[in-house]
Amino acid sequence: MVAEELGITPEEVTVRIGDTVFPDGPSSGGSKVTGSITPAARNAAYKAKMELFEQVARIWNTDASKLKAEDGQIFHVEDTSKNMTFMDALKGMRTGAIYASASRSDDYGGFQQPWGLCYGDLGSVQFVEVTVDTETGFVKVDKIVAAHSCGRPINTAHVRSQINGGVIQGIAYALYEYRSMDRETGHMMNANLDQYKLPYAMEIPEIESIIVEDYGGRSSTDAYGIGEPANIATAVAVANAVYNAIGVRIYEIPITPDKVLKALNKI
């Protein structure tokens, strides 16, 4: 985001986080990090750029609004003979550094949504294919197609990775994870990882993710969150697929062999 705004490469940008002297950021959660941080970062980069342009414009005796930064160069949009590298522009600065900070609140530009602008208009649809063994009661997820509207994907690989993670967690929620509480003694009996069933490699199906780009013009990046949304539809879709397979609805998760066999009147 910052590199794009300044016309330099991402490698030339150093990110420093995790120090209380830095400006406040959103909490890392709630599916709002990307939607909150990227517009602020972009706006701060824009401010810093414009200040640098002011200084360069003074040398070229022109107006800062006529300048552009691209591919490591700063140039005049009408008179391309006026150009210098970004690095030379920095060397010629009248100050040692330019500091800029920006924020993005939920009433960005006077526009407001009750659920907060960083969420955008999230929506997702997931399709699940399962195999139900009607003799043993075991459910196996074969394939999941997950279509997600998530504004502008900032890093496509990361978005897909988040969708994969959400889907896998959703499979765990649908088929495996539960807390076994001993009623008499009040102890959780499956607190070790060999007892608390999480999906491992063999339980993970083919996951096809479809990223639906959706530009609402609500911030300088149009990025929304994808963390939680990737997880919402999965368990429901798995349960619906099981219903579609065996014709009986199971209303409780995880859908274990015990519940499937009971639903099929085999116990």
């Binding site: 009661g137 069933k197 066999l261």
Partner: protein, 336 residues
């Protein structure tokens, strides 16, 4: 975990001269400072230590004792697998795969590749139950010698459905299920140098016979080898394990079937079940029902029904009954 000292014995005699406790001895007395216990692959013992259940004063590392890590085969006497042979070594042994398919299948599905590369056959047989009450430091359960089996009225979804009184734990070795169907024997040596060989059925101890021990090993004894009798060209076998997951999991139910097929008739069938009872069991009635019969859907379904006729499931594990019926049937059908 408490501090412990480490001892590397040079020989079987050296190890047997030093050892003075089994896991059940330490669970009963908790006198850890003076106790010296065997460790082979360390898979079970280290878990028991991390769980706070056993705190041995000395660990005797028997894994490096020479001579216990061989797989030998003789056409007459069969397979002799040293106690320190790892499950990984068994898995990659071509003869086991070719002649004892069910054993190969059981070994190949145990734990993870990393665990199989460390776990030994002796340690696998001598491991303690994974019953979550047994494994909980907060529950003084029947298998630890206290008299209460919490699983009877508690969280018993993974527990035993056959012979599940007075304790409903299941033995965790799925390799034992296959060895049982092949009528394997366990070779044991004591500190006096006395050797005894027991059939694997007699190696495991039902909680009804002794609440504290899961096998017949005394503190001054060590498994040296497991002997699997020779099979013939008519022998067919198959093993199925069903866990909550396909990856790295304990068996919820597992079955090994060994049959001899003459013509299209079945002879000398053996069916062994794991995770059904507190110890791996054979179901003789089900196996006998196949005798002289053709193996087909009908005879296989029937054997599954017979295998489960004595089942007395608890509140949360009745699903295991149809599960066992299904995998017994499938394993039988896979032999032809």
């Amino acid at each position: 975990m408490n501090k412990f000292s480490w001892y590397e014995p040079k020989s079987i005699e050296d190890a047997l001269g030093k050892v003075n406790a089994t896991v059940s001895d330490i669970l009963a007395k908790n006198s850890y400072k003076s106790s010296a216990i065997f460790k082979a692959g360390g898979i079970d013992l280290l878990d028991l230590m991390k769980e706070g259940l056993v705190n041995p004063g000395t660990i005797i590392n028997i894994k490096n004792i020479p001579g216990l890590n061989k797989i030998e085969y003789d056409q007459k006497s069969g397979l002799r697998i040293g106690a320190n042979v790892t499950l990984g070594e068994m898995e990659s042994n071509k003869l086991i795969k070719d002649q004892y398919l069910a054993l190969y299948q059981a070994v190949a599905q145990a734990g993870t590749p990393q665990i199989r590369n460390s776990a030994t056959l002796g340690g696998n047989l001598a491991q303690r139950t994974r019953c979550w009450y047994f494994r909980s430091i907060d529950h003084q359960c029947y298998r630890k010698g206290s008299g209460t089996c919490f699983a009877q009225e508690g969280e018993n979804e993974f527990h035993a459905i056959i012979n599940n009184q007075p304790c409903a734990s299941v033995h965790s070795s799925s390799v034992a299920t296959a060895l049982l169907a092949f009528n394997a024997q366990v070779e044991i040596i004591s500190s006096e140098g006395k050797k005894r060989t027991v059939i694997i059925e007699d190696f495991f101890v039902h909680p009804g016979d002794d609440s504290r021990t899961e096998n017949i090993l005394n503190a001054n004894e060590m498994i040296t080898a497991v002997i699997v009798p020779a099979v013939n060209e008519n022998t067919r076998s198959y093993y199925i394990k069903q866990g909550a997951r396909e990856s790295h999991d304990w068996a919820m139910a597992d079955v090994a079937v060994v049959v001899e097929i003459m013509g299209n008739r079945c002879r000398n069938a053996e069916i062994a079940l794991g995770a059904a009872a507190p110890i791996p069991i054979k179901t003789k009635a089900a196996a006998d029902s196949l005798s002289g019969k053709e193996i087909n859907e009908g005879s296989a379904v029937n054997a599954g029904e017979i295998a489960m006729k004595d089942a007395t499931p608890l509140a949360k594990n009745a699903y295991k009954v149809p599960l066992f019926k299904a995998i017994v049937k499938r394993a039988i059908l896979k032999t032809v």
